[in-house]
């Protein structure tokens, strides 16, 4: 190889090449006669297909919903759980079910040659899940075990406390059932819930992969056209406005770190403020090169992975900033956090800060669309919120044109520390003095 000798001393960063325009992949959509919407997107990179079925599941009884997702694949009239799993494996496939306060989600991936079979098995479960007593009993115990493990994890406990603090009496406030509630769930209740709520009206199936979109729609129609049932639907009320107030300190004696969680107001993806707020969030703490990370990690060494993110749910959006900090610097970490929020809410960002955040936001849109799994997740999240992939182009355009003034205004409106709801999970005895020096603290002992 020939070697080009570069000059000694600091070298100049090479410029970026021309930006490639965002290209949304080929897709097709059909709403079946039973009310199911099917969206198919082509990305032929590897011979696989990704599947996501979103079934609206708002206002479902918490424990029954959790148990339904835990046991939906546990058997049908004609197949056992082992048979279902084995038949899926044969085509390189798999399915799993999960719930949140918005939806029931069935997701999986398999060899594209097995798409028809995966859809047949999905239909088998949707139309025939039988919730056999033995399996329900086993899964009940397993779910209780899993909840107990979750309840021993600081990240989970901090999340639970924060949700209660943000949502008050809204259904989003509690998202994990108590073990005793799980123990009370019987198979009959699951069959009833399934027939009432697992129906095609308003549901969206997303298929992404090495498929011809129209053919994938045909396959879905063949397999799922017979899925019927017109049970009820339930609208979620809009989330309540975020109420600022005293810092909530949840005691976890002996904790060697404090889990700091800060909620701030936010807006939905389609709101005109969303793109400027997204950029303001990036500048604050939404990526590594943000003020918050550079301050409390790279300068002070208080924490490993601070991050802030706008979370979108069907009934509302919220911005959450999270950092796990050493117990002895809990007060100082809150001080720096409040400082960085206040600074951005009070003073406009520098032009180069905004450009860097903008490039990051635009670039990561490209990255997110570059895998089948990423496309499937994005398409499904969009569809569940009434959007389609072409909204990406609109969103990119909004990011591209947001001005410093737009971002400063969004920061002033949404990132002001006076609007924050703050929760800290940590050793109250050790962290109270430091926190109380900065703000009013209400302490809650753990149950």
């Amino acid at each position: 190889m020939t070697v080009t000798t570069a000059p000694a001393g600091p070298r100049t960063l090479p410029p970026l090449g021309p930006t490639r325009k965002l290209k949304v992949p080929k897709q097709a959509e059909r709403t079946l006669r039973n009310g199911l919407t099917v969206i198919a997107v082509r990305r032929p990179a590897v011979p696989l297909v990704e599947l996501r079925l979103w079934v609206p599941f708002g206002r479902v009884h918490l424990a029954r919903g959790a148990m339904l997702s835990q046991t939906m694949l546990s058997g049908t009239e004609s197949m056992t759980s082992v048979q279902i799993a084995a038949e899926l494996q044969k085509v390189g496939g798999g399915l799993s079910a999960g719930v949140d306060p918005d939806r029931l989600m069935l997701s999986g991936a398999g060899l594209v040659t097995g798409l028809d079979r995966m859809l047949e098995l999905l239909a088998e479960v949707l139309t025939g899940a039988s919730y056999p007593s033995d399996e329900v009993a086993t899964e009940r115990d397993r779910l209780v075990d899993r909840i107990q493990v979750a309840q021993s994890q600081p990240a989970h406990l901090a999340r639970e406390a924060l949700l209660k603090r943000i949502y008050g009496r809204h259904p989003y406030a509690t998202q994990t059932p108590e073990p005793d509630q799980i123990r009370a769930v019987r198979p009959a209740a699951l069959r009833t819930l399934h027939s009432e709520r697992v129906h095609p009206t308003g549901a969206q199936l997303v298929l992404v992969g090495d498929v011809q979109p129209e053919k994938a729609l045909d396959a879905a129609e063949r397999a799922l056209g017979g899925w019927s049932g017109a049970g009820r639907t339930a609208e979620l009320p809009a989330t309540p406005p975020l109420e600022p107030g005293p810092l909530l300190l949840v005691d976890r004696p002996g904790s060697v770190q404090s889990s700091l969680r800060i909620a701030l107001p936010a807006v939905s993806r389609t709101d005109p403020d969303h793109a400027p707020l997204q950029l303001a969030n990036l500048i604050f703490g939404g990526y590594f090169s943000s003020r918050w990370v550079e301050n409390i990690r790279e300068d002070k060494g208080y924490t490993y992975g601070p991050h802030s993110v706008i979370e979108h749910s069907v009934a509302g959006s919220v911005l959450v900033a999270a950092a796990d900090v050493a117990t002895e610097v809990t007060g100082p970490a809150l001080l720096e956090t409040t400082y960085e929020l206040g600074r951005l809410a009070s003073l406009p960002p520098k032009p180069e800060e905004l450009e860097q955040a903008r490039q990051y936001a635009l670039g990561t849109l490209q990255l997110g669309m570059s895998t089948q799994a990423g496309l499937a997740a994005l398409t499904s999240a969009y569809a569940g919120n009434g959007l389609r992939l072409d909204f990406l182009a609109e969103y990119a355009a909004r990011l591209a044109k947001a001005s410093i003034e737009d971002v400063a205004q969004a920061a002033a409106r949404y990132l002001a520390p006076a609007r924050a709801a703050i929760v800290v999970l940590g050793d109250a005895e050790r962290v109270t003095p430091g926190l109380a020096a900065l703000t009013t603290v209400n302490t809650e002992r753990q149950a």
Partner: protein, 436 residues
């Protein structure tokens, strides 16, 4: 076997390999299906190579590689990658340390510049060292000390299975050792291990091979040549008697257990090793797998279960010695002895009676999906190919893995199961100190 089987598909990512005059090996694998690239630099040094008294040093040093370099101030690396629309990270493994970016493809030259700059030399200062020791301590607190099952079993099982420092010690490191680290240690570590001859660069995705070759040569060509150090011999004898320990995890609400058995050398005996990779899936992948069906569904002695190759779950990027691991969480009051006995019984049954009709084929089809799915991510290809180049000189093996996994026979899986005897096992039990 009579069962119908899904045809196992393959990828055909092209592979270009070359070596610069300074010894840097380069792998290019173009794929223009999306306007993104993956860039990975892998150094042939990991947890096993860190000196005694310096546990956690390989990982701490990984952090120091992000703290500025020849032409770049602290924070510049992050800003230049993210300001180009990309993401970055690094990670420390038993046998290697990787540094990587995913970016829109118009940032190719920038990424090469950034990696070349720190290959020439990171800025090792006292201030940066102290700062990153603090950050790493918080990383250890969040991932190990402040949560239940922290480090189980990847940090807790190796000292049961192995006797020598390189294989047995805690790769995250003790706080004492981390705090004792010096700038001089870091400079030595860099000089010794971060040599051009000890590294592989891989670039995947939306690139033109000729253009990328020219850019790689331009930016890395004048990185000073330093040869790869001699890799020490890390081998240890297999166990001849069962080893078993336990410890109390004050935060853990449920008991847990992990067991491990040594497996053939993944590099020099790949054909002998692959059946174990398949065996782990036959045992634990999904509701139709042997151990899930038996322990979770039938006996209900286990509440969750996993099986995999390598302490860090890295079947194709680890060298000898390594292991097949099984780990399980038990219901409250669960009996670990009983679980281990049942595992032995099921392994015996598999070795003696063989697999059921179609059991192997469906497991292999599912494994193909997992392997293909990993390669769909542009960075996954760069990272995996870089390590395959480094450890085997064979980056194209990535394309072959689904087929090779599919060619493993029932006889081989049975033979592998027959070697997982209790007397070759190292096991560790977590006593639930947080049970309510």
């Amino acid at each position: 076997m009579a069962a119908r089987r899904s045809r196992i598909p393959a990828t055909k990512y092209p592979v270009e390999r070359f070596t610069l005059d300074n010894g840097l090996r380069v792998v290019l694998t173009p794929d223009r299906s999306a306007p993104v690239i993956g860039v990975a630099v892998v150094y042939d040094v990991g947890i096993r190579s860190e000196p005694e008294g310096r546990t956690g040093f390989a990982h701490l040093f990984e952090h120091l590689m992000f703290q500025g370099s020849e032409s770049l101030e602290k924070l510049a690396h992050f800003r230049h990658v993210q300001g180009a629309g990309g993401t970055f990270n690094g990670s420390t493994h038993l046998d290697y340390t990787d540094y990587f970016e995913t970016l829109p493809s118009n940032a190719l030259e920038r990424a090469l510049f950034l990696e070349a700059d720190r290959m020439r030399g990171p800025r090792l200062t006292e201030e940066n060292l102290r700062n990153q020791v603090d950050v790493v301590k918080e990383e250890i607190r969040v991932n190990v000390l402040n949560r239940p099952y922290g480090g189980f079993p990847w940090l807790t099982l190796p000292p049961v299975m192995f006797d020598t420092f390189p294989n047995a010690h805690d790769g995250y490191g003790s706080f004492d050792d981390l705090e004792s680290a010096t700038v001089a240690d870091a400079a030595d570590f860099f000089r010794r291990y971060y040599a051009s001859g000890n590294a592989v660069l891989a670039v995947s995705g939306d690139i033109d091979v000729a253009e990328a070759t020219e850019l790689v040569t331009r930016h890395f060509g004048d990185v000073p040549a330093r040869p790869a150090p001699q890799r020490p011999d890390f081998t240890e004898p297999d166990l001849s008697a069962e080893r078993r320990t336990s410890y109390t995890d004050a935060l853990a609400p449920l008991p847990a257990v992990a067991g491990a058995w040594r497996v053939p050398d993944p590099v020099t005996d790949f054909a002998g090793y692959l059946p174990y990779v398949v065996l782990a899936e036959v045992l634990t992948d999904g509701d139709a797998s042997r151990l899930v069906e038996r322990l979770v569904q039938r006996d209900r002695t286990v509440t969750s279960l996993g099986g995999y190759l390598g302490f860090m779950g890295d079947p194709f990027d680890v060298r000898d010695p390594t292991a097949l691991l099984l780990q399980a969480h038990l219901p409250p009051g669960g009996d670990v002895d009983k679980v281990l006995r049942t595992v032995d019984e099921e392994l015996d049954r598999l070795a003696t009676d063989g697999l059921t009709d179609g059991e192997l084929a469906r497991t292999q089809a599912r494994m193909a999906t997992h392997l293909l799915r990993d390669t769909d991510a542009v960075l996954g290809r760069a990272l995996r190919m870089a390590v395959l180049e480094q450890q085997r000189g064979e980056p194209g093996l990535l394309n072959e893995l689904p087929r090779l996994v599919g060619e493993v026979t029932e006889e081989q899986v049975r033979a592998a199961a027959a070697t997982l005897r209790p007397e070759r096992r190292a096991a560790i039990e977590v006593i639930a100190g947080g049970a309510r």
